[in-house]
Symmetry: C2
Subunit: 303 residues, 2 copies
């Protein structure tokens, strides 16, 4: 017998929306994904979009709702100001924003910003901070958390706080170079090739000049050393290797948790191993989000 | 009174075609540009395209013709095999390729390849080697030659030979990020801004992780620190700074000759100065090509 539903929560991003229903013990009793990311709202208001997915087991307008992700950005429901590094779960749960809603009790988790005093550059995340909290509930209180993706994040965790983080445009660069550059023209019938991927990783770990290394996608094709079908794997290796090389130079060989799913995480795991990271754990993205949202709802006394 | 015409020569690339007519003393007596780059040939053969521009003072089918550039590539008139570094003018003039032509005496300058024994990566150029020869005729026999552009080249010159070189995808990356990335979306009414450009240069010279630095184009916009109209200058500074930082790390602060024209060369000159290069000379691209073609025609006994 399960206890009765107690919380609705969602990771609400630009593209994805992932909804969770929890019982009073924090167990996820139902989950749902919908195409109501910020760029797919059509004419709906945020409240309308949220209500449109509150059907079946989710038809519980009486429950509190906690949201994380780009829904708290300037283009979202309401802007939830960034917490600043160093920040732990308490900083997020004390910073909930309350968007205007007639019928629902909604709170939004703030994003997180990291200021680099040496460069003056500020970096930002929204949604990932909640996933990191999810890993903290599993005991990850020191080390590095990597969140691969369009804009990969490397977060440094010390004593249960995110002390700093940095974004890398790895995923966006990969897609852009494949589709819009002279390198993409050379690629054909893309097939994953581990050897080409690892060659790219190794070269990027040896040489920090990715602007130059990228040109080797062209010359390796020109001289027939990498088959057209394997150039995409080589490019992926160069970019992921460049990201990991930079992260290693900045953080050293600490323990690492990677958050994400599917083939991309496999690639990161292989590349991290190549770079000498030996203590690497994998964490499902949905589980990290749902665990983080529950933890923050608890700490923020939302229930 | 000028001596009579003695040589026709052209830099024939993917986009551009620049034709020179020389007298017997090597003086350029007429020059012409045409839109018959490799990608604009339409249905014409290379011989037809060349004959189409041999009008007026260039109507001299009796003269020898020397070509450099992508016309010697696999997609060109005939593939002129690459000379290999280290290589000086003699290697190029001994490697002329002879394309099939019924009516003209045509030779094509080989390209140049550079093998990095540490990485196993081979780099290539076509056309730039002839411009470098042009600078050598002006006394540049040691130092670095930079050829900024879509795929910038840094060539190391020692004792009158190109001993190695490396390409950087700086120009293509800039265009691609402006047009196709999340960064370009933030830019508006682009205006050149020296302060934003130099901020980008300085940051890239301090930090080798360009994949991460590029994300700061987004956050500097988000926090209103760089105006939308100046983001393009900042992006340009980051990329050119990253190229120059890598070139400096590889070659040290040597004397530098830059080949090219217009605003781009001004940017490189400012960024090189920021990086500590004090001995920098500028060279017009057309003049470098025409001087190099004349020198190679002489050494190859084409006249």
């Amino acid at each position: 017998m399960t206890s009765s539903p107690a919380l609705l929560a969602a990771d609400w991003g630009t593209t994805n929306f992932r909804l969770f229903l929890y019982d009073a013990d924090g167990k996820v009793v139902a989950r749902h994904t919908a195409h109501i990311g910020l760029k797919n709202l059509g004419g709906q208001s945020f409240e309308q979009a949220l209500q449109s997915v509150m059907t079946g087991p989710f038809a519980r307008p009486d429950l509190p709702v906690l949201l994380s992700g780009m829904v708290g950005s300037r283009q979202g429901w309401i802007e939830a100001p960034y917490a600043q590094c160093p920040a732990g779960p308490d900083a997020f749960s004390q910073g909930f924003a309350t968007p205007p809603s007639e019928k629902l009790k909604v709170r939004i988790v703030p994003g997180l910003s990291s200021q680099n005093p040496a460069t003056g550059i500020t970096d930002v995340m929204r949604g990932e901070e909640t996933q990191i909290v999810g890993l903290m509930t599993q005991g990850l209180n020191d080390g590095i958390v990597i969140l691969p993706g369009t804009h990969s994040k490397w977060a440094r965790i010390e004593n249960g706080k995110v002390t700093s983080f940095l974004s890398y445009m790895t995923g966006e660069m990969f897609q852009m170079l494949k589709v819009h550059s002279i390198l993409g023209v050379l690629m054909a019938d893309t097939a994953d090739d581990e050897k080409s991927f690892l060659l790219g990783v190794d070269r990027a770990l040896e040489d920090t000049s990715i602007l130059s290394l990228l040109f080797s996608v062209r010359t390796e094709a020109l001289f027939g050393r990498i088959a057209p079908a394997h150039l995409s794997s080589y490019l992926s290796g160069l970019l992921i290797g460049a990201e990991i090389g930079a992260g290693k130079a900045r953080n050293g060989l600490q323990s690492v948790g990677i958050i994400g799913d599917g083939a991309l995480i496999n690639l990161y795991q292989r590349a991290l191993s190549r770079a000498g990271f030996t203590d690497v754990t994998r964490h499902n993205g949905d589980d990290a989000s749902s665990a983080g949202l529950w933890e923050l709802a608890q700490q923020g006394h939302l229930l």
